[in-house]
């Protein structure tokens, strides 16, 4: 089953817009205050992954690009680097088989972790190419891995909440349908 075939399970555009806004606000207001040993969670990256898991390639890459650009405006990194990373990441994840995301929560957690790691690593490579003065291997150990873990934890919480709400909504919908048929 390709991503295009699962269009019926795709989230509504309002989910992307509202989710993007919340992720941006969380990044500005909350993220700096919950840093652990200098590692700041990237809510924006987490949302781009979640969004790409339930949207088509066009929306995923476009959301990644816009949110990456906003991230560039509020952070101290070079503007455009994160938009490049998130556009590629969004496109890549939405191109994957959607059945990957419908397994057990452990599988989803693993996928989120891998995706967050890929995003953070891609960002590290991008910064390294752009001349960020750092030992790359040290950066991977001290920044990429802890940040990916941090992002994945928040991503998983939101993902499980989304699944719960989605299941509750489906149940409500089927109950209404059942009532009408009766």
């Amino acid at each position: 089953m390709s991503s295009m075939e699962t269009r019926e399970t795709e989230m509504r555009p309002s989910f992307t817009v509202v989710g993007s806004l919340i992720a941006f606000l969380l990044q500005v207001i909350i993220a700096p205050n919950i840093a652990i040993l200098g590692v700041v969670p990237n809510f924006i990256l987490g949302f781009v992954i979640l969004n790409a898991m339930s949207c088509n390639r066009v929306r995923s890459s476009l959301t990644g690009f816009i949110l990456g650009l906003l991230y560039g405006f509020i952070s101290q990194g070079p503007l455009g680097a994160m938009s490049l990373v998130l556009a590629i990441l969004g496109y890549g994840i939405s191109s994957l088989n959607k059945e990957l995301f419908s397994g057990s929560w452990q599988m989803q957690a693993l996928f989120l972790l891998i995706a967050a790691f890929a995003g953070e690593l891609l960002n590290a490579v991008c910064l390294s190419i752009l001349g960020y003065d750092s030992d790359f291997r040290h950066s991977v150990g001290m920044r990429v891995v802890p940040a990916a873990l941090y992002d994945a934890v928040f991503g998983l919480i939101v993902f499980l909440l989304m699944r719960r709400f989605s299941a509750a909504r489906k149940k409500k919908g089927s109950d209404i349908l059942k009532g009408k048929l009766d």
């Binding site: 500005v28 991230y71 503007l79 455009g80 590629i88």
Partner: protein
């Protein structure tokens, strides 16, 4: 006539991705090549101005969280006492460094009388609004900007010592790159031996004092202070103390790690030295220009800065409260 489903016209994903990647590269290129007055930098400055109130709100929201964090750290002791003692310890350490500076000054300059104060720099107190929004930069945002007379490059101090330099300025806020950031470098010397080097930040938040040759005697606990070389930072401001010293025969220089004088989480108010860069350079030069006399002068400069700090911080905090 059979109805056919309406086809949605949409750009193919691959082509869109290619366009977005190209656009990102163009933005990156423009960003890197334009000056700070360029359009993208102006937009960023505008966004920073807009999100500053949100950041202030965030710091207010986070205050109870930070308090809870401190509480959990000091769970075995009376929290107020432990915090007070830690603060006192930091202040005493800083005073000790300054006193040592005075002692050395007296030794070297006992015959050079009429020592004048090297620094007469104005300073502005500011409150820390937030720390970095990403993992790659160790920066803080303070609640004073160009309207308060701040500009890029100004040194920023806590009550205990140097913490960084202003990197970008907006009308109502400024971003300070901390000395513990990997991109930072401060001309520094060891107080005991006067050996000069460059203090650099690292990914793990520990400072490294580089370019200290193998024949210089360095001991853990030695104070590291600004040398004034380069003209960015005034001379004699405490930076930290040596934690470890490693040498190997194959090395040209010693590997010295330094603990910053202040923890990032420990400062809420800071002091920005707003004297013009020329003034700072002049002060630094005059301090260094009188040979060894500069150190003592800088010591008094630090003292003055510290004394001004308290007044300014009070006014700065008041400003923040307003």
């Amino acid at each position: 006539m059979a109805l056919t489903p309406k086809k949605q016209r949409q750009l193919p994903g691959g082509i869109l991705l290619l366009i977005l990647c190209l656009l990102s590269v163009v933005i990156l290129s423009v960003w890197a090549n334009e000056g700070t007055a360029g359009p993208l930098h102006q937009v960023k400055s505008g966004v920073e101005t807009v999100v500053t109130p949100l950041r202030v709100a965030g710091s207010v929201v986070a205050a109870p969280l930070n308090a809870a964090n401190n509480l959990s750290e000091n769970v075995t002791t009376d929290s107020k006492t432990a915090e007070e003692l830690r603060r006192q310890n930091e202040e005493l350490q800083s005073q000790l460094i300054r006193m040592e500076e005075y002692r050395q000054e007296n030794e070297r300059l006992s015959k050079l009388l009429e020592l004048k104060e090297a620094y007469n720099l104005e300073s502005v107190g500011a409150r820390v609004i937030t720390t970095s929004t990403d993992s790659w930069n160790r920066v803080i945002t303070i609640n004073k900007g160009s309207i308060a007379g701040l500009s890029v490059g100004m040194p920023v101090m806590s009550a205990n010592g140097l913490i960084g330099q202003i990197e970008s300025v907006n009308p109502y806020s400024s971003v300070v790159r901390l000395i513990v950031d990997e991109e930072s470098g401060v001309a520094a010397f060891l107080q005991s031996s006067r050996a000069e080097g460059v203090l650099s930040g690292s990914v793990d938040g520990i400072l490294h004092l580089n370019f200290i040759s193998l024949d210089v005697s360095v001991e853990p606990g030695d104070a590291v202070i600004t040398s004034g070389a380069g003209g960015i930072y005034p001379k004699g401001i405490p930076l930290g103390e040596v934690i470890t010293v490693e040498t190997s025969p194959s090395d040209v220089y010693q590997r010295i790690t330094v603990r910053p004088v202040t923890r990032v989480s420990a400062f809420e108010e800071v002091l920005v030295l707003v004297g013009s860069e020329a003034e700072i350079v002049a002060s630094g030069t005059s301090a260094g220009g009188s040979g060894s006399g500069g150190t003592g002068a800088s010591g008094s400069g630090s003292e003055e800065a510290a004394s001004t700090s308290e007044e300014e911080q009070a006014s700065g905090a008041a400003g923040a409260d307003e």
